[in-house]
């Protein structure tokens, strides 16, 4: 069983790595300049020269989907990295220090959690006037408490364990305790949560972009590409479907990898949150 999980881990890890490599080397592997407009060849269906067809500005869709991978995947990864690191640190601090700090921070996180997800993000993104950075910021503002709570409860359950007592008695400073003993132990659950969050976040960034609150032109981003082409679903479907399929495949891959990592780290339980 564990061997199978390991094989799956390698397989999905490799696929995600390919995706990331494609995103990193987008400029190198794109057959055309993703922003080059040419009205002569506008809205051409998929062909050998343009495997994904062209959009209404005559831009090569394949190149744009590849360029979009860079924007979409990296902004998602950045978002998840920021909220998981920031959220975890806050959570650990709360759990370890307790007291007033814990109370205040947890109330703030309660308030952030009280707003239904996308709505608050929508409002923030609207206030900040769009742009992919602002979309990321808006989603970060509402997503960190999840990690803070996870890290806090993990810390609490660990704090009073015997080996922690022993470590504390042997004169370790709180900072050392956190870095040496707590952080390594909560990396697993945080990593799993983060991996599974990537798909959700990618779709939420796409949703903000869809409403015009994400990437700005001519930046290729999957959500805004779909939003820009949505009225062409029936007439020129490749303009909508190619970025749609790209989002779909990436989300599936990250989800699969997340699941597998979870199974790998905790083979006994299939329970995840």
């Amino acid at each position: 069983m564990r061997n199978r999980t390991k094989r799956k881990l390698i397989l999905f890890g490799a696929l995600v790595a390919i995706l990331l490599l494609a995103a990193i080397f987008a400029q190198v592997i794109s057959p055309y300049d993703p922003n080059l407009q040419n009205y002569e060849i506008a809205l051409q269906p998929p062909s050998f020269a343009h495997p994904f067809g062209t959009d209404r500005y005559g831009r090569d869709m394949l190149s744009r989907v590849i360029a979009g991978a860079q924007t979409s995947i990296f902004s998602t990864l950045l978002l998840v990295a920021v909220i998981s690191v920031f959220g975890t640190l806050i959570g650990v601090a709360c759990g370890y220090l307790g007291g007033l700090f814990d109370g205040v921070v947890m109330r703030i996180s309660d308030i952030c959690l009280a707003f239904p997800g996308l709505v608050f993000a929508l409002a923030i993104a609207a206030v900040l006037n769009g742009g992919i950075q602002n979309a990321v910021l808006a989603l970060a503002a509402i997503s960190w408490p999840k990690y803070a709570r996870l890290a806090r409860s993990q810390t609490l359950s660990m704090k009073n364990a015997d080996y922690m007592m022993a470590a504390r008695l042997s004169g370790n400073t709180p900072l050392k305790m956190i870095v040496r003993h707590i952080l390594p132990n909560i990396t697993g659950p945080v990593l799993v949560t983060a991996m599974l969050d990537i798909g959700t976040m990618m779709m939420e960034i796409a949703a903000l972009s869809f409403l015009g609150l994400g990437a700005k032109p001519p930046t290729a981003e999957w959500g805004s590409m779909m939003s820009g082409g949505r009225s062409m679903l029936q007439t020129y479907p490749w303009v909508v479907l190619t970025p749609g399929v790209a989002i779909f495949i990436s989300v599936v891959l990250f989800n699969l990898l997340g699941d597998t990592i979870r199974d790998y780290l905790d083979p006994r339980s299939t329970h995840g949150k």
Binding site: D110, S153, R230, S269
Partner: protein, 314 residues
């Protein structure tokens, strides 16, 4: 138990204050002006003095904190101001549109339960058989499609190709609610059936299940009498969370399907920077969410004897 409820209710106060302050601050910091906005969109000229006068009338010229306290006072009296755009009482508009959203939310939750519960249990029972794989693949697919995309595709399939459902909703009826509700339920079911599966699997792996088997009790009896009941707490929590998520998640779907609820109202208001309406929406949605969560926790507390008997759940 009483103490627990009391504590939860007390905690509600700072939470509500925080919610109101944050939503107010956010909307005001933006600092842009709906009056100018309005004239621009309609493409018609209005004099500077008239704009100043309107700004004064709406209290946009006062300092920030004064504006908040005024606003909070009015809020407590049930006055959330008037829409910059339509000039109507925001609270009235909100209340008149709320039932539509609640209906849509209710239907989606119902549909989610109907889809995810049997499939989740089935998937857990048949763990690692083809039924399980099929269900999990479907769940992956459902979980990985942006809902605006699902909405467009469903609309195309059911309304144009098959002609079963209308594209635009004609008032509040099941026929009109079907497509938006299905769209919302697809994503939700995909998400929750995985968690239901996990919850059931966790119960199944417990010793009493093996024990029951050893004692010759039929598996179906164990499944429904014990496993399902124990997993119910998790499922209930998920449902409550799903209500919260849905309340917010309906916004995009409502505006795509022209469902005349508060979500569509909010998206329209965001586009027009109609702050009083956005505020009303954000604040009330948060309050509803908090209340739903509170109720869930209380139910949870009834169901879970460990909490009922004095201990406190963290």
């Amino acid at each position: 138990m009483k103490k627990y409820i009391g504590k939860r209710l007390l905690l509600l106060i700072p939470l509500l204050l925080g919610i109101t302050f944050l939503s107010f601050a956010m909307m005001r910091i933006a600092g842009s002006d709906a009056i100018l906005q309005k004239t621009e969109v309609s493409g018609v000229a209005v004099s500077e003095e008239a704009i100043e006068a309107q700004r004064e009338e709406l209290g946009l010229d006062k300092p920030f904190l004064v504006q908040y306290i005024n606003w909070l006072g009015n809020f407590l009296r049930g006055d959330m101001g008037k829409s910059y755009i339509s000039g109507e009482e925001v609270l009235d508009t909100f209340i008149s549109k709320l039932p539509a959203t609640l209906l849509l939310t209710g239907l989606s939750v119902l549909l989610t339960v109907v889809i995810s519960l049997p499939l989740g249990i089935l998937s857990a029972v048949k763990q690692n058989q083809w039924t399980d794989y099929l269900i999990r693949v479907c769940s992956f697919v459902g979980n990985s499609l942006p809902n605006f995309f699902v909405a467009l595709v469903l609309m195309y399939l059911f309304a144009i190709q098959l002609g079963i459902f209308p594209v635009i909703s004609e008032g509040m009826n099941l026929e009109s609610a079907a497509l938006p509700a299905i769209t919302l339920a697809i994503a939700m079911s995909a998400k929750y059936l995985r968690q239901i599966r996990a919850a059931i699997l966790e119960e199944l792996s417990k010793e009493y299940v093996t024990g029951a088997k050893a004692r010759g009790i039929p598996f179906s009896v164990t499944l429904w009498k014990s496993v399902f009941r124990s997993a119910l707490v998790t499922i209930l929590t998920l449902l409550a969370l799903s209500i919260g998520n849905l309340l917010g998640g309906t916004a995009i779907i409502e505006s795509i399907f022209m469902w005349d609820g508060v979500g569509k109202m909010a998206v329209d208001a965001i586009n027009m920077r109609d702050y009083p309406v956005i505020q009303a929406y954000v604040v009330w949605m948060a309050i509803i969410y908090v209340v739903v969560n509170l109720i869930t926790d209380l139910i949870y507390c009834f169901l879970d004897p460990r909490i009922r008997l004095g201990g406190e759940k963290e």
